[in-house]
């Protein structure tokens, strides 16, 4: 396998894996966020007086769960735009 073929294979694999990374990462984060959201709605329905405090904690927790999906996105972006193995291909 010569250099050019290796770069092409690495590029194809990188693109497929980047899509899979984002998809699986978004799946997990979406599942976790739906549970947080439903729990927060439940808590707010029970105690409307605490709505402001619950909303503040809700946003912070959502962002922390969301960050796992964002990490997956950053890894996908590294695979697509800053991949050392496909440097000769000029994908971007």
């Amino acid at each position: 396998m010569n250099e050019q073929t290796l770069h092409l294979v690495m590029g194809a694999v990188s693109i497929i894996v980047a899509g899979l990374t984002t998809a699986i990462g978004a799946f997990g984060a979406a599942f976790g966020e739906s549970r947080i959201g439903s729990a927060a709605m439940d808590a707010m329905a029970r105690q409307p007086d605490e709505g402001a405090a619950i909303t503040r904690n809700l946003f912070v927790t959502l962002a922390m769960v969301e960050s796992t999906a964002i990490f997956c996105l950053v890894i996908a972006l590294i695979l697509l735009f800053a991949n050392p193995y496909t440097a000769g291909l000029h994908l971007q």
Binding site: F59, E66, S67, I70, F71, V74, L77, L80, A82, Q92
Partner: protein, 224 residues
């Protein structure tokens, strides 16, 4: 179509050996604008109390103080200044990113890492100042000495998470808008830009809240 650099940052000019990148210039411009606005608000609150600008100024100062008091449990003016500065700077960066031709400086990993390192350094400084070196170091092994590596790892990983979370959110917003502009046209990405602005404000709020929580935990250990 213009070149979209995802991770790189073009150097605009060299000050001797010091490279000045586009993100540095944008961040400096945002800081300058913020200082200017703060000066205008200060003038308003000194000369014309009761006017609209003075009310805005009071809200802008009281809101971070209330936030810090809610999280820490008692008012901490210096921490309110610290976290409030983070919020206003990040929100202003997000607004600046909506201007045509300007890329938000927070979509650069170096900028967000610098902000996260600021929090990382402030936590032990505040902890040692409020409870002393011995007591601060002892809280690492207060649960069990075997927890020490985990505690150290969590200090590092939360700093990493703080920077990459902000970077990823702002970069994804920028990339989505850039993609839609390249594919469709000029006016189509307006709703996505509004969403990007909302996410920018939310991330600024979360950065401020998380830094308050981390520093507040170092402060709070004194009272227990």
């Amino acid at each position: 179509m213009t070149e979209i650099s995802v991770f790189g940052d073009p150097v605009v000019l060299w000050l001797g050996q010091l490279p000045v990148t586009r993100a540095t210039l944008t961040a400096l411009a945002v800081s300058g604008t913020l200082v200017l606005v703060a000066g205008i608000l200060r003038h308003a609150i000194l000369r014309r109390p009761g006017s609209l600008l003075a009310i805005i100024a009071e809200l802008a100062v009281e809101w971070p103080e209330q936030l810090v008091a809610d999280i820490v449990g008692h008012p901490v003016p210096s921490l309110a200044v610290f976290s409030g500065t983070f919020f206003y700077f990040l929100a202003a960066c997000s607004v600046a990113g909506q201007l045509p031709g300007v890329r938000t400086p927070t979509s650069n990993l170096a900028v967000t890492s610098a902000l996260a390192v600021l929090v990382f350094v402030t936590v032990p400084v505040v902890g040692i100042r409020s409870q002393g070196l011995g007591r601060y170091l002892r809280h690492y092994i207060s649960v069990s000495p075997f927890m020490l590596p985990l505690e150290l790892m969590s200090e590092l990983s939360r700093t990493f998470a703080l920077s990459v979370r902000l970077f990823g959110n702002m970069l994804s917003g920028y990339l989505i808008v850039a993609l839609i502009v390249a594919l469709v046209g000029v006016f189509v990405p307006t709703p996505l830009m509004a969403l990007d602005l909302l996410i920018g404000f939310l991330q600024a709020y979360i950065f401020a809240v998380l830094s308050t929580v981390y520093i507040g935990a170092a402060l709070r250990a004194r009272e227990e």
